[in-house]
Symmetry: C2
């Protein structure tokens, strides 16, 4: 046979099928926990990672600024918020996007060199991803708070929680030679009312179920185990970061496929939202980050809200979160809306995705797979943009979370993406 | 003011409101675990409890016969199934219904004097209820199996699992002075895809979440803790029995209210289904037990099925199970049917119940309370009978579970109940 000539459309469809298959077949395991600077190649002193597309101190959103200040204090690079700010303003701390290191962090997503970081491995495709440990809700670094209690909690997480999780994952690997099958947890969680972004009650309990036998077996003091256990069990959001590291692997498996128009990153830094397109590699397409609609804590309103922020939209990138809300009806208590709204939203997302997930299914929709692999061509053709659910940070540094809600990405982002795609592929 | 004369209808409605309120306000706690003969007044040697209305060895269903044989062997009253059967046939073992002792047990529901039994307490109304420990799925005593492996498991539960649970509940009571708030677990489970009868994945994990910190604190050997933990975590049905003890307290709170036409027990022994009506006290109204429709394990069909069996319909009595299936869409993988069927079934149950539950809510129905407190007047008026979901046992003793499915109670049962009610109240 001679060479086969395919139309551009066929080439894109073929590339997108490949991206869809990879996103489905990726199989994330939690395999280790380590100190960030040791685990992540190129991560050095006086460098901080942050969620979303690249930014500068000057352009950083309030919550990102707050989190950067807190991380500088946590690292001991400056003793006070004022001195931390001076350091940051002078550019003495290098700021880099998490995604450039295959790291994902919710909200501000700030990771500093001495923070513990969980390591995930894709058993199918061999990739690695990383995420920081979730601090819980309220006044926490990732929402831009940096008070003494925030720093103290981070120190406890490094000094007490990290050794427990390290002992646990060592026991798990000693036992099965691999690590913890995390895809299985997410599959089950979807049948237990989670959508894996803003409702994580089930994945949290499923994670605890898996690690508890190994906790018993560690030589760690019983009261330290109790404290670590209660920290995780008292914070259903703990597994959000783990879900994100798993979703990052799924998206990564679909990334860098020539001609593919599938979205492989959606991430926000509070000022801008940025996306990656598989066929465009690590090039950021950005637009101003929208302000979420949602349910605000008493005393706050949308006026107080930062632009949407965080790497957690990797969940929607992988067909979860807003794309799986019909699996998680109880989420409307947190992000607002109605049952009809969440079901209709998921149904709309099927119009802009390559296919239905083979492993993540929604019982209420008759076990239909979640819509997965966003195709920017379909977004523009249908005029429907991805819907994310999200936590809402105060726009000023130092305050923290003020609500949770829903965000629709701007169509402009996808128009820009298609223009760049046309440029690159000479269409 | 003089005496107020109420119409019979008003008196019934008032009584039913009281029953409904009591069923809602009952607040079950798990407070202890003990050996059955010590915990349950009047429970003596050579006596066995069984699910459902009273029966005899001659009239017992296959799975009940199998479980009785197994219990006799477990107690050491006879060494072989043949000798056990002889003992039972000669009437040398007293058979009594569980409900006469405020005990509930799924399927055959056989409880013998030396089995460990969990004790539940109603913080609002002061009642006590009891349940045996769940053995898991498949070849187990409650489905009528009595092989050596079945007896060995029961022995392990008494010798190893019971001491762990005893140490745990002692730690809990030492800590909070009360016990484990079990209503809270059920409320959360309904938002995590359980209906608390045949889907218990969430209540199981929520229970483990609560007890694990106390497990760490017991002085028990770590490997014994691991074994006990894995037995519970590997068997989502473990909390079914606990749900039942809690539901029994709810139904008990609504029981014995003069004039009330509310159903306070639904229970089956495989031959007959029996109900209690609040205003009729502990009088059994019975009818032949229907054979469930459902999903059968490979190699089995409805031809092989026993009549419906077990005390577990106490869940539907308290507004859960079949009455809450719309909270648990993933259950159709187990009991069969479609999403539309389970939603429509729940909607139909609203037509025969006094009200909507104040604490047990269904996210998919916009957090509507589950239909609760079955009124036999409404059952007859609408011609709609309660729908239960259920496990299916083989009709022969010694085999075990062959499927799971759905049962509609016969209308005849409710006609008989109303006739007895009319007799008693001289209508």
């Amino acid at each position: 046979m001679g060479r086969v000539y395919m139309s551009l459309k066929d080439m894109i469809n073929k590339a997108n099928s490949k991206a869809y298959e990879a996103m489905n077949n990726s199989h994330p395991y939690w395999i280790d926990i380590d100190i960030a600077s040791k685990a992540i190649k190129g991560f050095k002193d006086y460098m901080l990672l942050h969620a979303g597309p690249p930014t500068t101190w000057e352009n950083a959103s309030g919550p990102l600024k707050g989190a950067l200040i807190g991380a500088v204090i946590y690292e001991g690079w400056a003793p006070t918020p004022e001195e931390a700010e001076t350091l940051l303003r002078r550019g003495e701390v290098v700021l880099e996007p998490t995604h450039h290191y295959n790291v994902v962090g919710p909200m501000a997503g700030v990771v500093s060199p001495s923070m513990p970081i969980m390591i995930f491995h894709d058993k199918t495709y061999g990739n690695r991803s990383y995420t920081n440990l979730n601090e819980g809700l309220g006044k926490v670094l990732r929402y831009g708070a940096y008070g003494r209690d925030v720093i103290k909690r981070l120190e406890w997480m490094r000094d007490k929680l990290y050794p427990v999780l390290k002992a646990v994952i060592d026991e798990i690997r000693r036992d099965n030679g691999i690590g913890l099958d995390y895809k299985s947890i997410m599959m089950q969680a979807l049948h237990m009312g989670d959508e894996c972004h803003n409702r994580n009650n089930a994945s949290n309990l499923l994670f605890l179920k898996e690690i508890t036998p190994y906790m018993f077996r560690t030589g760690i003091d019983r009261e330290d185990l109790v404290e670590a256990y209660k920290f995780i069990s008292g914070n259903p959001t703990f597994t959000l970061n783990m879900n994100m590291a798993a979703a990052k692997l799924m998206a990564l498996a679909a990334h860098n496929i020539e001609y593919s128009t599938v979205v492989t990153v959606i991430a926000r830094n509070g000022t801008e939202v940025g996306i990656w397109i598989s066929g465009l590699g690590n090039e950021w397409i950005t637009a101003p980050s929208p302000i979420p609609h949602g349910v605000f804590f008493p005393g706050y309103s949308r006026e107080d809200a930062s632009g949407d922020i965080g790497d957690s939209a990797i969940m929607e990138t992988a067909g979860l979160g807003g794309f799986a809300m019909a699996a998680a009806p109880a989420i409307i208590n947190y992000v607002g809306g109605t049952i009809d709204f969440i079901v209709e939203t998921v149904k709309k997302m099927y119009e802009i995705t390559v296919g239905e997930h083979k492993y993540f299914t929604i019982p209420y929709l008759g076990f239909r797979g979640t819509p997965v692999a966003i195709d920017i061509r379909l977004v523009l053709k249908k005029g429907i943009t991805p819907v994310l659910n999200t936590g809402i940070a105060h726009k000023e540094p130092g305050i923290g979370q003020i609500g949770a809600g829903i965000v629709e990405l701007p169509l402009e982002l996808f128009k820009k993406a298609l223009r760049r795609y046309a440029e690159k592929y000479g269409i």
